[in-house]
Amino acid sequence: MLAQWKKSFIFGGFLALLVLLPLLTSRSDILTWTCLTFQYILLSQSWNILGGYAGQVNLGHAAFFGIGALTTRYVWLWGFPLPLALLLGSLIATVFAFFIGLPAFRLRGIYFVIGTLVLAEILRIIVDTRFPVASVLPAETLLTYSLVSRYYLSLLGAILAVFTVYFISHSRLGLGMRAIREDEDAAKTSGVGILQYKLSAFLISTFLAGFAGGIFAYYMVAVQPGYVFSPAWTFDSVVIVFVGGIGTIVGPIFGSVFFVILKQWLSLHLPGGLHLAVFGILFILVVLYIPDGFIELVRRFTKG
């Protein structure tokens, strides 16, 4: 298609534009939407690692987003520096994942899918009942609330996610994960340690999901604890990944942009939560007719 240097040039130029955006505009709506897009890129790419590359459908993704969010929020509001709070959020989410992963990966196929969903829902219900009151930023913090700093943090998160997926896809890790996705028995007898690789994908995925949660917790003025455990976070990620292109680097990026734009447009024109129904239908159509996502569609057209 395009020469490698041209690709890098376009990519670099685009990245530069994103970095300079807060300097080019002060419209908070553009910055907010872009900021949210970055967060969705981070969250969807994290699901892509386990679901797209390793082929393990984790419907409990929201649990790790939530754990990261609450941990970061409380640690930060207790007075600890933000970087530490973010790191702790990601790490605690990963630790949880380790202990959930060991038994969960003994479940085969559909049972793993259901099991992860159930675990996440249990966690959400516990959090909802024990911490029903929303956490609101204290007045001093509210006064110094800067959208721009949150914009750059989200951009950093998105870049980290994309580079992680890029690294995985070009490394032995990615090779092993994809082999497991394609055929576990053949992967086993070719030397791939199944549990080891599934767990690795899981831990990387949940670390990034926890980081996404942490960024979100920092971003939101008021957060009801149960909200960050809502399964919508999981399903939004799944829809984005499938629509954009599962198991690809660029897929979730396009998916996130498309998702945020469509979501904004739909919520303006459709009542209540009806835009969720639209996404549900879109997801079904994609899975049935373009399972490889729009990226694959584009590739097929450009190959001629």
């Binding site: 032995r172 090779l175 092993g176 994809r178 082999a179 053949a186 007898t189 070719s190 791939v192 340690g193």
Partner: protein, 245 residues
């Protein structure tokens, strides 16, 4: 090299392998034959760790590998192909072979080396022109060769081939026989399961015959072919009676 000691495996009430003992010596090509359902593929599954036996031992070069996990058995030098090929469909032929190279005996993180070696193996097998093709677009015969390439990439000491020749034309069978001999000459010991008789008789140094999970005969190809017990076991099996005398 490989010792199977009093191995037994049952599925529910069915005895798939019944107190089986056999030896495989370094450098030889052992033909493993027997009527359908005699336990050949089950034996391969047991050796490669996909199944665990009810009793008995599998020993590779004095190491008990009976209960090792499959990927460790691969790292110890045993590779196998599957009767119904199991390619990594959404990955290219090159990537399929790269998995074997990256995770096999010479397990490595250096992707460049892995790619180079995988290319070399594809050339050896004759699939290098289609190295960038997705495995899903390869034909059955090509998939069998790809599976062989992937197994070879793990640098095995012992290679288990499960019905490589099924469905091949006579010319393809000839080519495959030469390929297998080349593989043995490069220092790999082989156990070959086959129904295609010319292939088995042409390749094997020694043949072991299974029936209903037990070893009923063992010896040179000529001895086995004339063994009354073997002929009886195959009575009604076209493939064997065609070549009976």
């Amino acid at each position: 090299m490989l010792k199977i000691e009093d191995l037994s495996k049952s599925f529910g009430g069915l005895m798939a392998i019944h107190h089986l003992s056999l030896d495989v010596y370094e450098g030889e090509i052992v033909g493993l034959i027997g009527p359908n359902g005699s336990g050949k593929t089950t034996l391969f599954n047991l050796i490669s760790g996909l199944l665990k036996p009810n009793s008995g031992r599998i020993v590779l070069s004095d190491r008990d590998i009976t209960y090792l996990s499959s990927h460790n058995i691969c790292r110890m030098g045993i590779a196998r192909t599957f009767q119904l090929t199991k390619p990594f469909l959404q990955m290219t032929a090159l990537e399929n072979v790269m998995v074997g190279k990256a995770f096999g005996c010479t397990s490595t993180w250096n992707m460049k080396k892995v790619e180079e070696e995988a290319k070399r193996i594809l050339e050896f097998i004759g699939l290098d022109e289609k190295s960038m093709w997705k495995a899903s677009s390869l034909g059955v015969v090509e998939r069998k060769r790809l599976e062989l390439a992937r197994a070879l990439a793990t640098k095995p000491k012992l290679l288990l081939l499960d019905e490589m020749m099924a469905g091949l034309t006579p010319t393809e069978v000839e080519e495959s026989i030469m390929l297998v001999k080349k593989i043995r000459d490069s220092g790999v010991t082989l156990i070959v399961v086959e129904h295609v008789m010319e292939a088995i008789l042409g390749l094997s140094d020694r043949i072991i015959v299974l029936n209903a999970g037990e070893k009923i005969a063992e010896g040179s190809p000529q001895d086995v072919v004339h063994n009354p017990k073997v002929i009886e076991a195959y009575l009604g099996e076209e493939a064997f009676t065609d070549f009976g005398s």
